[in-house]
């Protein structure tokens, strides 16, 4: 089990390295360079700026420098906000993005899993049909579209909630729901399907044949097996929560990393783009790692890989 975890960790570091490399290369492939502004700068100025940021050095040297800084926790400089480092900017945005993502995740699980279970247990009932309908509905509508519709309803029409910004409960509830809708729907569907699948298995029949009560059959025999596929999708759902927040933050004007990323792209701030991308890749890798470890806890079959 320990060996398994360590191998995975090593693997993640490797992947992140490749991600950094690819992103770095991509940045240098973008036509137009980082100094494109509406008013073209004088060539001398550009040359000086390049020298200042080390952009005139050969590629591998730049990358080497970058990696070195990375290992020291320095994500480089922002080309736009020249007085602040990328690390600083990202750390500012981190709490907002993390809170948003965290709350959305909780909502998704707290709604998705019980809904899926209820639908599976009361198959073909009203609950089942409604849950299937709603989960399909929310799985289809893009999160940011939902967000905008929510704003339309609660801010513009009902004047109940602010359209954006960051502050308190008021500001977080709509974006969290908009973000959580898709994962909740998906988790509900997977939970339902998985429960139905497990309930059909031979070992459930064996459990009933032993005379165990339905409650025991459900809790002890069904749930753990049913949660395995749910855990599988949790990884990608977490990834979605992380990526989805990019657009949602823009819609709701939340000063998180997502919005920083979008602005970075719009303003050609390479330093920021790189930093944000790496941050996201790292977050996803971490989330997947946690899911993998949990897998080993829940399913004894894979422990001895």
């Amino acid at each position: 089990m320990l060996k398994y975890s360590i191998r995975r960790l090593f693997w993640i570091v490797l992947v992140l390295f490749v991600v950094a490399f690819i992103t770095f290369s991509l940045m240098h492939l973008v036509p137009g360079g980082p100094w494109d502004r509406e008013k073209a700068l004088a060539p001398q100025v550009i040359e000086n700026l390049n020298k200042k940021y080390g952009l005139d050095k050969p590629f591998y040297e730049q990358f080497g420098d970058y990696l070195w800084n990375l290992l020291h926790g320095d994500l480089g400089v922002s080309y736009r906000y020249q007085d602040r480092g990328v690390t600083e900017i990202i750390l500012e945005g981190l709490p907002k993005t993390a809170t948003l993502g965290g709350i959305a995740f909780l909502i998704a699980i707290l709604i998705g899993i019980p809904l899926g279970m209820a639908a599976a247990l009361k198959q073909n009932s009203i609950i089942d049909y409604m849950s299937v309908f709603f989960s399909t509905l929310f799985a289809s509508i893009p999160g940011f579209v939902l967000g905008i519709l929510l704003i339309l309803l609660f801010s513009v029409t009902l004047h109940l909630l602010p359209t954006g910004g960051w502050g308190g409960f008021d500001h977080i509830i709509m974006p969290a729901f908009a973000l959580a809708a898709l994962p909740a729907a998906y988790i509900a569907r997977v939970t339902r399907a998985s429960m139905l699948d497990v309930l059909r298995q031979d070992y459930i029949r064996t459990a009933r044949a032993k005379g165990l009560s339905e409650r025991v059959v459900l809790v002890r025999h069904t749930l753990r097996n049913a949660m395995i596929p749910v855990l599988t999708v949790t990884g990608p759902e977490l990834a979605y929560l992380i990526t989805g927040s990019v657009i949602i933050e823009s819609v709701f004007s939340i000063p998180g990393i997502g919005r920083l990323f979008v602005q970075g792209v719009q303003q050609r701030d390479y330093g920021l783009i790189m930093g944000a991308t790496l941050f996201y890749a790292f977050a996803i890798a971490l989330a997947n790692y946690v899911v993998d470890v949990l897998y080993g806890v829940v399913d004894p079959r894979i422990r001895y890989e």
């Binding site: 031979d202 070992y203 044949a209 005379g211 009560s213 025991v216 002890r220 829940v298 004894p300």
Partner: protein
């Protein structure tokens, strides 16, 4: 010999998109204390469904036990509440299923799966149940039981899993064990071991056994009486000896002829039964077997058939058999 379990006129149907499947129709059989009976027939003939109906493990919907009685120790199991049936399941009537690979819960230890029945049916506490479970595993021939009980099903081979199933089945000292094709999914060499073990254990405990199988060899060796099923009905039954030496139904004859025998010359061709099993949604009128029967007459195509005693203790539903 006193009858311990009696199934009377049991019918179980399944409602599917294509129609109602009459899986079990007016089936009756009984087993006495310590006796071994066999239910034989092809796959899909209703043997398993009838057994599951006894302990009410049929999924309703789409299934439904339509009629009949299952008398166990004086009570009709079909009329009991779900709770009451649960008390009987596993403790008085135990089942051993066919597929060892999928019949055990993969995420629970063997220990957990064995002790749960002991805890609820025999009221044992944790340590007591653990000791008993280890004893049971040893009884079914699993060595190093103390170590292995902590393992998971995937650490065991197919044959060993069946032993575990057997141990689970006898753990509450049931009066009846229903063994549904217990050795079909296992290697031939293991089959023999498992069956011998089952035979010894049930003899010791005086347990009645309903052995469901399509393997006629097993029946001959272990069962006292045999019921032959076809298309959801019993077509012949009697003492195994009698049925084997003097089959009174063309289907039984066909089954026996299609088994290779050691006392016949090797170049004799096996004679299969022509045709396909019938569609249980719209079975043939009259005798279900008549479309495949070489001796079919006009009278076989209509009416309902009853089991008639054609020799002492030997019953058949074939109208032709009565002539003798």
């Amino acid at each position: 010999m006193s009858t311990v379990l009696q199934v009377s006129d049991l019918s179980t149907h399944f409602h599917t998109q294509d129609g109602v499947v009459k899986a079990v129709e007016h089936v009756s059989y009984e087993v006495a204390k310590g006796e071994v009976i066999a239910l034989v027939g092809e796959s899909g003939c209703g043997k398993t469904v009838s057994a599951l109906s006894i302990v009410r493990l049929i999924q309703e919907p789409p299934g439904r036990i339509v009629s009949g009685q299952v008398i166990f120790n004086g009570t009709d199991l079909l009329k009991l509440s779900r709770q009451a049936v649960r008390k009987v399941r596993g403790s008085e009537i135990a089942m051993i299923f066919q597929e060892p690979m999928t019949s055990l819960n993969p995420v629970l230890t063997i220990r957990r799966q064995m002790t749960e029945a002991l805890e609820i049916h025999r009221g044992m506490k944790r340590q007591e149940a653990l000791d008993e479970a280890i004893r049971l595993l040893e009884r079914v021939g699993i060595t190093q039981a103390e170590r292995r009980i902590k393992d998971y099903p995937h650490n065991f081979s197919g044959g060993m899993r069946q032993r575990v199933m057997m141990a689970m089945a006898i753990s509450c000292q049931p009066q009846v064990i229903i063994a549904d094709e217990p050795t079909t999914a296992v290697d031939v060499t293991i089959q023999a071991q498992l069956l011998e073990m089952l035979h010894n254990i049930t003899k010791d405990l005086d347990t009645a056994v309903i052995l469901i199988t399509h393997n006629l060899g097993i029946v001959a060796r272990y069962a006292r009486r045999v019921y032959v099923m076809y298309a959801g009905r019993i077509v012949e039954h009697g003492l195994a000896q009698a049925v084997y030496h003097d089959p009174r139904h063309p289907y039984t004859e066909g089954l026996l002829c299609s088994v290779p025998r050691l006392d016949e010359p090797r170049c004799v061709r096996l004679v299969p039964i022509e045709g396909q099993p019938p569609d249980l949604i719209a079975p043939p009128l009259g005798c279900q077997f008549h479309p495949r029967c070489s001796q079919a007459q006009d009278q076989c195509r209509e009416g309902t058939l009853e089991l008639v005693e054609v020799a002492p203790g030997h019953y058949s539903s074939c109208r032709m058999a009565r002539k003798e």
